[in-house]
Amino acid sequence: MTQPVLSVRNLKVEFVTRRGILRAIDDVSFDIAPGEVLGVVGESGAGKSLTGTAIIGLIDPPGRIAGGEVLLQGSRIDNLEKEAMRKIRGKRIGMIFQDPLTSLNPLFKISEQLVETIQTHTDMNAAQARQRAIDLLTEVGIPAPEKRIDGYPHEFSGGMRQRVVIALALAAEPELIIADEPTTALDVSVQAQIITLLKKLCRERGTAVMLVTHDMGVIAETADRVAVMYAGRIAEIGPVREVVQKARHPYAKGLMGAIPTLESSAERLMQIPGAMPRLTAIPKGCAFNPRCTEVFARCHVERPDVIPVGLSQVACWLYDTRKEAAA
């Protein structure tokens, strides 16, 4: 078996507040293989984006990584010095954020931003770097890149800006790309273009992608595997078909049923009662138990860990052979 590009082991992230320590990410583990797209979904506050931030080491105090390991190509990166981590970001891990306007500096030309990134991570001279920047823009589908490269970010439309951001992320040929809601700020028609582009580039280069989004449709189209997160933990992780069509965790089931689709003809959408608990009031046992329709005694007492069910892994006592709580 090939070594995974990224390996996250029992990651825990905590925030120290006046009201005590809040655990925002609790025991999250997953791998991403070369060329694989892992989708991470969940509601706001489930810890999706924070997982991404933790991997690239950008958690600001009062937040901190309280336990677990992050391995890039088998070596730990979560305990590196700031300077060493800074070299990895951009070079080995590329990042694409939600809002393409805020991730580009409005005062610099696209060319300056691309050339700077390329020269930081490679030893090209200015002319080579500029040529490389033009090649990158061509690759992400920007028409007339020789002309457009000297434009400022405000001269580009939302979709075009996101293409520039993707070009920036690809500049140093990273092994892993973390894309945090890359299409949320875009219109559907443009969203489809960006997804297709991202998928094509990764397939061609064998880059691993962690795609964080709340849009299940995007995941279904793009990802190879999906992790469904709830209240800082992974509820279910498995191949995309398996999770979308045969979701096993009651939360994942509810989530899939709640999404209106073009094909469905149901009069009412399935709805999950209630809302996700606040970090200050995570219930004992399984965090989903107050909203779960299939809750039983053990759920209130013991917290489930992920167990293999079919091709997926599910954190739910329904799939454990032992149904009662440990005495």
């Binding site: 509601e43 706001s44 439309s157 979709g159 075009m160 219109d187 559907v188 028609s189 443009v190 969203q191 489809a192 273009q193 997804i195 297709t196 709340h214 849009d215 299940m216 449709g217 995007v218 279904a220 189209e221 995309v240 078909r241 979308v244 069509q245 509810g254 989530l255 899939m256 049923g257 709640a258 999404i259 209106p260 689709t261 073009l262 094909e263 469905s264 009069e267 009412r268 959408l269 399935m270 709805q271 999950i272 009662p273 809302a275």
Partner: protein, 345 residues
């Protein structure tokens, strides 16, 4: 035009929008204009939109950002003055009638739900005051006890507890806030509610709750909705009739079921093809081309022609008029077969 509107209202339309237009002045400041000898510049945000909504129905407007959906919504409720055309609700013109008394009466029956429940509720007011405001503003009830009872009733109706009335908006989650906004819209016994992207700021599981609530209320109280959204799947779930907007014009108006089964306008087809597919049916699709152009300087002829796979010379020069709900030369000339052929290729 007015006679036509009269016809429509007798044929059962509750809301009639005729040739609605909105032009914004986007000129540079006077001094700059004088120095540069530049002419005034206008942006046609909405350019001749016509549709009817029957009582108890949901009419949805879909389209990309900048297509003018929200501008139409704002003009329909009267938040924006119209630049041309007419809006009639229950036979009373909102735009041209001199009879302001009749229009004032009509105001009570029209309410709006906004996109962002974090911005549309006053953070310094208790929820009971927020909901009671329309009751007080329209003098519907006078005794404080009656008002309290009515607010409690409304809160129960939208799935909250009457005891929640004393709380402030920040004590609620996004979905609960949107419920408060719905309660406020219903407080004046509104019959026609304009919803501008009511669920796009919410998570999917909460979105499902709000959409279900809106449908239940419609069944219970016979509400009429004008529903604005960019999410086609949500629209498919809510609407009975759909209007697809592109650069301030309606490209297609069709019954919802009909549109999803057999979209007619090339733009509608493109939009439907672009929606990420949860079913992963692997249907054939035409890759979307380009982006919505700037409305300040729209393309000549049919404004969709630079992105259209079926464009010909006529499309570049002549703007199509809507015939049977579709404004497209290719549809009218029967050239749509080419699109299917392209899909297979």
């Amino acid at each position: 035009m007015s006679a036509q509107a009269q016809n429509a209202s007798t044929s059962g339309a509750f809301v009639t929008v005729r040739d609605l237009k909105k032009t914004f002045d986007v000129s540079k400041p006077w001094l700059e204009r004088t120095i540069e000898r530049a002419p005034k510049q206008f942006l046609k945000a909405v350019d001749g939109v016509t549709f009817d909504i029957k009582k108890g129905e949901t009419f949805a407007l879909v389209g990309e950002s900048g297509s003018g959906k929200s501008t139409v919504a704002r003009m329909v409720v009267g938040l924006l003055p119209v630049s041309g055309g007419e809006v009639m609700v229950d036979g009373i013109s909102m735009t041209t009638t001199v009879d302001s008394a009749a229009r004032e009466k009509l105001r009570r029956r029209i309410q709006m739900i906004f996109q962002d429940p974090y911005a549309s509720l006053n953070p310094r007011w208790r929820v009971q005051d927020i909901i009671a405001e329309p009751i007080r503003a329209f003098n519907l009830l006078s005794s404080p006890k009656d008002i309290t009872d009515r607010v409690g009733e409304l809160l129960t109706l939208v799935g909250l507890s009457p005891l929640d009335g004393v709380k402030f908006p920040h004590q609620f989650s996004g979905g609960q806030r949107q419920r408060v906004a719905i309660a406020r819209a219903l407080a004046s016994n509104a019959e026609f509610i304009v919803c501008d992207e009511p669920t796009s700021a919410l998570d999917v599981s909460v979105q499902a709750q709000i959409l279900n609530l809106m449908r239940d209320l419609q069944d219970k109280m016979g509400l009429t909705y004008l529903f604005i959204s960019h999410n086609l799947a949500v629209v498919r779930h809510m609407a009975s009739t759909i209007g697809v907007m592109y650069l301030g014009r309606l490209a297609e108006v069709s019954a919802a079921k009909e549109m999803f089964r057999s979209p007619r306008h090339p733009y509608t087809r493109m939009l439907l093809d672009a929606v990420p597919d949860l079913g992963m049916s692997g249907r054939a699709r035409i890759p979307v081309q380009g982006e919505i152009p700037s409305p300040i300087n729209p393309p000549s002829g049919c404004t969709f022609h630079p992105r259209c796979p079926l464009v010909n010379d006529r499309c570049r020069s002549e703007a199509p008029l809507p015939i049977a709900g579709v404004a497209c030369h290719a549809v009218q000339e029967g050239r749509m077969g080419e699109m299917a052929a392209r899909k297979l290729a």
